[in-house]
């Protein structure tokens, strides 16, 4: 990969909690506009790594640059240049759709005028005109997740981090969600995504698989299947994650 286009650079990332090594010397780069799948068994150390990449936690050691900003002393700049969404935390339930958009856009320092025009555009694009003044708790989960993603990239970040974004949603919505991810990547937004749905691993440009705090494999889905001599990503995952000896995170 051309290092000029790398938007995430991770060199020798180590994170320890006491004598427990949650991230054991991670090395990878993610290119601009890439859809990067970050997979691993429960307790493999994914969440710990994502927190560091988002500027929420310090690594113990290593050299990590996010959108060219340093995770040790440019954390506020990192936060301005990324978007984040997870299944567990996305939108405020007791605010309306429009209020949620305004709230997030405001936090990211967008101008009032810009917020106004872009909100209208988003509401139209997602077909939410009739429900735009409804509270989030009143709208179905599928819409909520699509909206949460759109809000996470509303300020046009360089990278969006998605932590199990499609958990629990119905199969049709899950696929519509991936259409949104593809669209974002086409616009040049880098997508860093975790999932437990192994069919979704196939949709990524490249996939890394963590086992016991280390990256055991990193390649395109096609190459991984060839290397491990299996038919699909589920089998790749099972082959690798079976090797895990760590029981606790």
């Amino acid at each position: 990969m051309n290092s000029n286009t790398a938007i995430i650079t991770v060199k020798n990332l180590v994170k320890k909690f006491g004598d427990f090594t949650a991230n054991d010397n991670l090395n990878f780069e993610v290119a601009q506009g890439e859809i990067f799948g970050f997979l691993g068994a429960n307790g493999a150390g994914k969440t710990t790594a994502i927190k560091i990449l988002c500027g929420l936690s310090f690594p113990t050691s290593g050299e990590i640059k996010i959108a060219n900003f340093d995770v040790y002393n440019e954390r506020e700049k990192i936060k301005k240049n990324i978007g984040y969404m997870s299944q567990k935390f996305s939108l405020y339930e007791d605010l309306t759709i429009v209020e949620n958009i305004r709230f997030y856009a405001g936090i990211y320092g967008m101008s009032r005028k810009n917020i106004k025009t872009k909100t209208l555009e988003l509401i139209t694009r997602l077909g939410l005109e009739d429900v735009k003044n409804k509270q989030i708790k009143e709208i179905p989960l599928g819409w909520k997740q699509k909206l949460a993603f759109s809000v996470a990239i509303f300020h046009n970040p360089k990278i969006v981090f998605l932590d199990e974004p499609t958990g629990g949603v119905d199969p049709v919505t899950r696929r519509q969600f991936w259409d949104l991810i593809y669209q974002a990547a086409e616009q040049g937004i880098t997508v860093f995504v975790t999932t437990h749905y192994m069919d979704e691993a196939e949709y990524c440009d490249r996939v890394s698989i963590m086992v016991d705090g280390r990256i055991e494999a990193l390649d395109t889905p096609q190459n991984l299947k060839e290397i491990y001599g299996v038919e699909n990503m589920n089998d790749v995952f099972i082959k690798l994650a079976r090797k895990a000896t760590r029981v606790e995170s």
């Binding site: 429960n42 629990g168 119905d170 437990h196 192994m198 196939e202 889905p221 995952f237 606790e248």
Partner: protein, 300 residues
């Protein structure tokens, strides 16, 4: 022998109808799956059957007992693993299991044979606080606690949600083992691929049952000619196929797209020609048998 009978159950909350006239039956020692996304009504149904919630309409029986009149009897013979981890976080692994055994007037020793296969995975950590366990271990402890009084019927509400593919596989192997021991199991999941591990399933969406049958019969009833298609660019493939004549559906399915047409005579050559003109290469097209997920989307 019917172990669970659900007859015309409806449940309404202030603003929403969670269950709309649901009926089904579960046989003795059957592993029955409720397959559906969040918001389908699965948890409401579990809470009604475990006597924690009253239905708005309809009736239900568990092991011959009525869920309203005989609720005390039902509570003694069922094990329930709720979707949310609900053990005591500040008690140790062993204390939790002991607590549940004592509440039901039994001991760990008495029923150890039943939980052994599951509990042995976490027994090395029996002095650890439940709150300090990883997701997979919490799941095993919760299942052990739901089993320690040797229930006749087991209710498992999304036991594998958020759990990785390896642990999910192990968990289903444990359920097969419990079924062999004669326990009737009702389990819910949002993962469509887990349907094939059940004896019978009900596909459920927005409070309504879309279909009830063995996984095999459900997939056999799929009535369209289904193509699996791939090329060098999946996203472009999806966009192009949506523009193709008489397209009925295009869905991403891992490395393939699943495609159906309104034209029953459409053949692979025609599709290949179209895609070739659109500039695709490494094109692969085959007709395949539908999966549960294909059926679910078709019925939605």
């Amino acid at each position: 022998m019917k172990r669970i009978i659900v007859e015309n159950i409806s449940k309404s909350y202030k603003n929403a109808q969670a269950l709309k006239n649901i009926s089904f039956e579960v046989n003795d020692s059957e592993l029955f799956g409720l397959i559906g996304p969040d918001g389908a009504g699965k948890t409401s149904l579990f809470r009604i059957l475990t006597t924690l919630l009253l239905a708005t309409d309809g009736s239900a029986e568990v092991f011959g007992y009525d869920v309203v009149k005989d609720y005390k009897k039902i509570r003694n013979i069922v094990g329930y693993m709720p979707g949310k981890f609900s053990l005591y976080q500040d008690l140790s692994v062993e204390e939790n299991l002991n607590f549940f055994a004592t509440v039901f007037g039994t001991t760990i020793e008495e029923n150890y044979d039943l939980v052994k296969d599951i509990y042995s995975h976490i027994e090395p950590f029996k002095h650890r606080l439940a709150g300090k366990l990883s997701g997979g271990m919490k799941q095993k402890l919760a299942l052990s606690c739901a089993l320690i009084h040797r229930p006749k019927v087991l209710f498992l509400d999304e036991p594998t949600t958020g759990v990785d593919a390896v642990s999910r596989k192990e968990f289903w192997e444990m359920l097969r083992g419990l079924k062999q021991k004669g326990i009737t199991i009702l389990v819910s999941t949002p993962y469509m691929d887990e349907a094939s591990l059940c004896d019978r399933v009900a596909l459920i969406q927005s409070g309504k049952i879309l279909s009830i049958d063995t996984p095999e019969n459900i997939t056999n009833q799929y009535s369209h000619k289904l193509f699996a298609i791939k090329s060098n660019n999946l996203y472009k493939l999806s966009k192009d196929l949506k523009e193709f004549k008489s397209t009925r559906s295009v869905y991403l399915f891992g490395q393939y797209l699943h495609y159906t047409s309104n034209d029953n005579n459409l053949n692979t050559q025609e599709i290949e020609q179209f895609l070739f003109q659109k500039g695709h290469h490494e094109i692969e097209i085959k007709t395949i048998k539908a999966s549960i997920e294909d059926c679910f989307m078709d019925l939605m």
